[in-house]
Symmetry: C2
Subunit: 418 residues, 2 copies
Amino acid sequence: MKKLVGACIFGQSGGPTSVINSSAAGVFAEALKQDCVTKVYGAAHGIKGMLNEEFYDMGQEDMKELLLLKNTPSSALGSVRYKLADYTKDPTDYERLLEVFKKYNIRYFFYNGGNDSMDTCNKVSKFMAQSGWECRVIGVPKTIDNDLYGTDHCPGFASAAKYIATTIKEINLDAKVYDTGMVTIIEAMGRNAGWLTASAALAGLDGNGADLIYLPEVPFSMEKFINDVKAVCAKNGNKCIAVVSEGIKFADGKYVSEATTSATDKFGHAQLGGLAARLADAVKEATGIKTRAIEFSLMQRCAAHLASKVDVEEAFKAGQKAVKLAVSGVTDKMVIFKRVMKNGKYTCVMEPMALELAANTEKTVPQNWIIKDGTYVSKEYIDYALPLIQGDSKAPLENGLPRFAKLKKVSGKINDKK
Amino acid sequence: MKKLVGACIFGQSGGPTSVINSSAAGVFAEALKQDCVTKVYGAAHGIKGMLNEEFYDMGQEDMKELLLLKNTPSSALGSVRYKLADYTKDPTDYERLLEVFKKYNIRYFFYNGGNDSMDTCNKVSKFMAQSGWECRVIGVPKTIDNDLYGTDHCPGFASAAKYIATTIKEINLDAKVYDTGMVTIIEAMGRNAGWLTASAALAGLDGNGADLIYLPEVPFSMEKFINDVKAVCAKNGNKCIAVVSEGIKFADGKYVSEATTSATDKFGHAQLGGLAARLADAVKEATGIKTRAIEFSLMQRCAAHLASKVDVEEAFKAGQKAVKLAVSGVTDKMVIFKRVMKNGKYTCVMEPMALELAANTEKTVPQNWIIKDGTYVSKEYIDYALPLIQGDSKAPLENGLPRFAKLKKVSGKINDKK
């Protein structure tokens, strides 16, 4: 096959994770090695930076700093939540993108994100194909929600799960330290999929985890919830730890958190939050027991100091794989992970899958993995998640604190006036 | 000096920390080595367990598990918030304690906690002395608030500070990831002293920390706060990270958080919390910029996976020192830390100080360390805190998660009926 010679551009999109920069490092390290890739651009704020010609020349960076990205949380290039229109209805953005791609001879497009970002990636791929501009498009998965279709799991999920499991083990010891009652309600992310919230069950492997786990896959009943908490309290000296997903909904489909906020983001998703405090209040009112509401907030997705080594390495390899696939002629695909268990030992194989299969899908936790009347997850979940959270991988310490990557961010923009 | 032969009892009291169990490990390891110590008891829930004859025979534990306590957060024996009465007014508890001490021939009393616990320790010490029961009493300091009088710093503070500084570095990257405005308000503990909240400044050593830091040592004005945030936003593209202490008060002495809760604990302290959400709402209303409230909640005091090695080791040595002092004849003292800087290198020396000096005191951050019109701390604070957060020390991993100590907790109670 003829080698496609030209520049590549990489963008980060959607909510950041502890390891999304590890995928960036994989893309950059691999792309900078490839002879057919003439320039490696990193877009500021994903697709928005591409439209605005705001991108960086990654070849100007020190490789040492690029590799520090492996352990640097959040999206180093800046992220974006920007929904591309249907190009049959409004081609403005697409035409602008094509203009930029032609100007910079961009022949490789790599996009790192979740469902919405794969929608963007898919639309760009289809438009470039029909426009006749040869450009290979590969999506790199990323989401702590772990809800992308077609892949065994998503980079970012395992590190967030490790944060949640570790932190709940610690909180379990703290919240039970007095000989008085205490109901602790913890809110975890994951939107409409319970994968991440379910990781609370990993904390319970030695018996010191959460008592109750509520996933969005099961309709939530306030009455049942209060009764569940009461039952645990009756057994455990009024001590109970309940973990709830931000995305739990009542049987009528309304988010339980919605009474506390009515804001929506640009994709029309309800903005979730404040749920733990609301449930804690309900428990206190119904039982009189002291409560504490804890929200893992941004920490669960940016605690790179607690990242899973498996996750960091897989995220890096997914970035490398995207470049290798594109250079070898593959396009219009997302990198997916396939799990291979050999003699009980976990390994992961990466393959391409059609982009449109990943775009805008939501993979949820199987109903038969949810047990104890909707308050816990089964051994299948543990077996699924446990291999993914193994090992530590963190930034080197400087002054006792993590030394994250410092990029020069040299503009890659061509100044037309010169 | 004649050796005092008898049993020792150790209790944990007040809010737990990441390293309070490291002090317990130090006490147990040292006491179990001493010939004159006939039994080593660990009290369940501090003074309450002593009054109720609920304590464990620590000699029955595996030394390996006792040493795992060094990296196990929270109070493994259970904690308590129990205020002893003035014994001249109500001697009930004291007489009961004396009865127990005589029954078990307890000649060494070690108590690990903060101001309130040192008050308990001081009262027990004075009562035993006047009652004629020879019992050596040594307090071991502990508090993330770092507000104990007479000691350079307190075990527990540095690990909480390291958690805050590390986490703010991570949050800083996450909260600034979009090209849209975002004001993040973070609430840290510390009660009426700003030591812990000030550790946010450590995150800013490489320029990626908090923009504004509010300590309880400076009267809080909502109007000034809003203006401070507006000024940062005007410079930084509507991005701002402000860290506030739970204990900030208005000029009239009222807690800023008080509008959100009116509960008080058993010592009559107001229970603080919900402050970040309240300030975030105020900022949103005044500026229209998106806000996020983050409460570090229990995590800041129980994140043992992020403990400072210096802190873990010092906490252990403080426990050992308490036993060594008591065995050598010292009583009625608390172990204090003195900082020694040699050729720019930090070391710490431990000495005894009269217990009554520590009881019920509150040491706050010096006013001249608070700069930028009450919104940041000076280099003196950085120089003070930085040596304390150095190095990592964490539990070994099992299943990718921390393996904490598992104690047998064999009852030490003598069954009178047998």
